[in-house]
Amino acid sequence: MAPETLYALGGAFLFVIGLCVMVAIPHLLRKILAFNVMAGGIFLILVGLREAGEFPDPVPQALVLTGIVVAFASTALAVLLLRRWFHVSGRATLEPEHAYAHHYRYGPGDKKPEPERDADSGSDA
């Protein structure tokens, strides 16, 4: 199997994972993350679909370059809207409160999250 086809298959995986999460999980920031992952998958498919060993085609590269910048602009606007929504409503999802509590189920093997005291939650520097 050519390496380019491997990347195209990986791009298909990424697209499907992103789509599944974007549809299924109600938290808006995760949807934004999933959107970015989907975009990355599509870009990999676009550039990866070429004959093995050939000279890299510049036209898909130019399209993907445009796509990367536009994806960032969309993500930035989405995060801006999300923070505005959070500031106004106090929630990070679009579901009403009772529907959100219905989604609050754990899968097998999860333990309830406890407030971490140590290294990992250090984002508020």
Binding site: P115, R117, D118, A119, S121, G122, D124, A125
Partner: protein
């Protein structure tokens, strides 16, 4: 295999080995200060070795200087980032420092800042 190729292989492989050791430290060390120690020191040394290995097959002096610049920039950025993270973490954990929602005072009293942390010298030598 020429001498240059051999030297290049040794440098690149040892750089990768240092990165592996650094990642092992990241995964196994107990708290943030020791992990920063592993990341900044060991990974930068690994990067320096890899950059040296790449310099051996660089085409011109410009490429050599660019590689050196990459290493110096990474050194400066990771050192500053490590310092900032350790600084913020220390000031959050210190008894009397700003408390995050969810943390309790019990945690501060139960596990005070031990002097035997791997973050190098004690940042405030005069403090009890």
């Amino acid at each position: 295999m020429t001498l240059v190729n051999l030297a290049q292989s040794v440098l690149l492989l040892s750089g990768c080995a240092f990165f592996f050791i650094g990642t092992l430290g990241l995964l196994r060390f107990p708290d943030a200060f020791t992990r920063i120690h592993a990341l900044t020191k060991v990974d930068n040394l690994g990067l320096g070795l890899i950059v040296l290995g790449l310099m051996l097959s660089a085409g011109s002096l410009a490429v050599v200087l660019k590689l050196l610049l990459i290493w110096l920039l990474t050194l400066a950025a990771s050192a500053t980032a490590g310092h900032l993270i350790a600084h913020a973490k220390y000031h959050r954990q210190r008894p009397g420092g700003p408390r995050q929602p969810g943390e309790s005072r019990q945690a501060d009293r139960a596990a005070p800042i031990a002097p035997s942390q791997g973050a190098g010298a004690d940042p405030h030598p005069g403090r009890p």
